[in-house]
Amino acid sequence: MNWDLIWSSFGPLITGAVTGTIPLTLASFALGLLLALVVALLRLSPNRVLSGIGRFYVSVIRGTPLLVQLFVIFFGLPSIGVRLDPWPSAIIAFSLNVGGYAAEIIRAAILSVPKGQWEAGHTIGMSNRQTLVRIILPQAARVSVPPLSNTFISLVKDTSLASLILVTELFRNAQQIAAFSQEFMALYLQAALVYWVICLVLSTAQSAVERRLDRYVAH
């Protein structure tokens, strides 16, 4: 074991996490959530065409591998003249992916809010949109935090796939040092450790958010 190498590798791995993995995750999750809300509302629409579009989207995203989605965007699109850099390609692919999974979570969360809440919103004069934004979504948020946290934590790990389209992030740095030093076991275990620490921090944050959102329900 080359301990000096191991020790000095943490620097590039953590740099990769801070400048690659984490911003990639945050950007993709934020965009993905917005997309998911739109898709969830499409799926809930009484209009058959709109709900059909939502259903189709979810079906395609969930029915195809993330790696394939990533490759279609980065390696496939150039052949029809759309050439994207690694970063935008990765963000687009991950956002689309999160959009598909989170849409189902948000849809279920919206449906879990009792119908009487819609009626109460309407009866004090609110429009559908006002009721959705002020009454339904805050309650749906509480229900959807645990499953959305799962999606978020999965996304942190899934961003390692971006190494395959040359995005400089945690795992790509690990690969490069491993290839150069031939210390595969050490470097990949180190990479695993850094991912694990990130996810531990996120789990703690998840509990804090859940506690905050639970303040208005009986225990």
Partner: protein
């Protein structure tokens, strides 16, 4: 003012009808409500009384019939023909004039009592926030819940939640208050508080329609009782007449059965 003076009319519903397939929910429902009047809708479950009430607030849309608010003129009144296409504007206008109190309260669980009450006045009616808060506090004081201003609904008993529900409706300053079985979900010992509040509102001159199973209360508070069964009005008249000396067989049977329960 004579009772037929149109200027005292708050609401007039004519020929409300609704059906799901071949199942008649409502047929030929006429209701006239004058200012300060309390109308009690009674009847067995499935009789359509709740559907009538919800129609007056646009939570249900009848297939046919008309609802007229005020004198029906263009300036202050509102006339909706459910037979024609009813748009969002008309439903909004209906809700602007009436407020609903639900059987299961339907308070917003993520908002404090105060926020529940000012949500409509501030967000919908665009009244100044300070004014809405002052009004809410005054109303809470009235129903004995001033100290619950910052509590969340889950911290309140059913009776307290329902009183907040009533205050939320009052805060909208509606012309007409609608109550959908306001005490049916309450523990028996909490019913009295809520009925007491409704009775006070009646004495103050609020115009109300109440769907209820509390016949003694209806007799006490209501000016008119409408007995419905199978989607039609079977009998209507002054509370004492309909509840004490019903003319129709179905009414007699219903009143007798409920009084046995008591």
């Amino acid at each position: 003012m004579s009772p037929t003076d149109p200027s005292t009319m708050v609401l007039e519903a004519r020929n409300l009808a609704k059906a799901f397939g071949s199942n008649t929910v409502l047929r030929d429902i006429d209701i006239t409500i004058r200012r300060g009047q309390v109308v009690a809708l009674i009847g067995p479950s499935g009789s359509g009384k709740t559907t009538v009430l919800r129609s007056l607030n646009g939570l249900e849309v009848p297939d046919a019939g008309t609802v007229t608010f005020g004198s029906g003129d263009a300036s202050s009144g509102l006339a909706i023909d459910f037979g024609a296409k009813v748009g969002k504007k008309e439903i909004a206008a209906l809700r602007d004039r009436s407020a609903m109190v639900f059987q299961h309260y339907n308070l917003f669980p993520h908002m404090t009592v105060l926020k529940n009450i000012i949500e409509g006045p501030v967000q919908v009616q665009k009244r100044p926030r300070a004014e809405a808060i002052a009004e809410a506090e005054r109303l809470l004081e009235r129903v004995g819940l001033a100290d619950k201003r910052d509590a969340y609904p889950f911290e309140l008993s059913g009776g307290q939640q329902q009183r907040v529900g009533i205050v939320r409706a009052l805060a909208l300053k509606p012309q007409l208050l609608l109550f959908d079985e306001p005490t049916s979900a309450l523990d028996p010992e909490l019913v009295g508080d809520v009925l007491g509040v409704i009775k006070e509102l009646a004495e103050e001159g609020w115009t109300m329609v109440i769907v209820t199973h509390e016949l003694a209360f209806a007799q006490h508070v209501a000016d008119e009782v409408i007995f419905m069964d199978g989607g039609v009005v079977v009998e209507r008249g002054p509370a004492a007449e309909v509840l004490r000396a019903p003319r129709q067989e179905r009414t007699k049977l219903f009143v007798k059965r409920l009084q046995h329960d008591v």
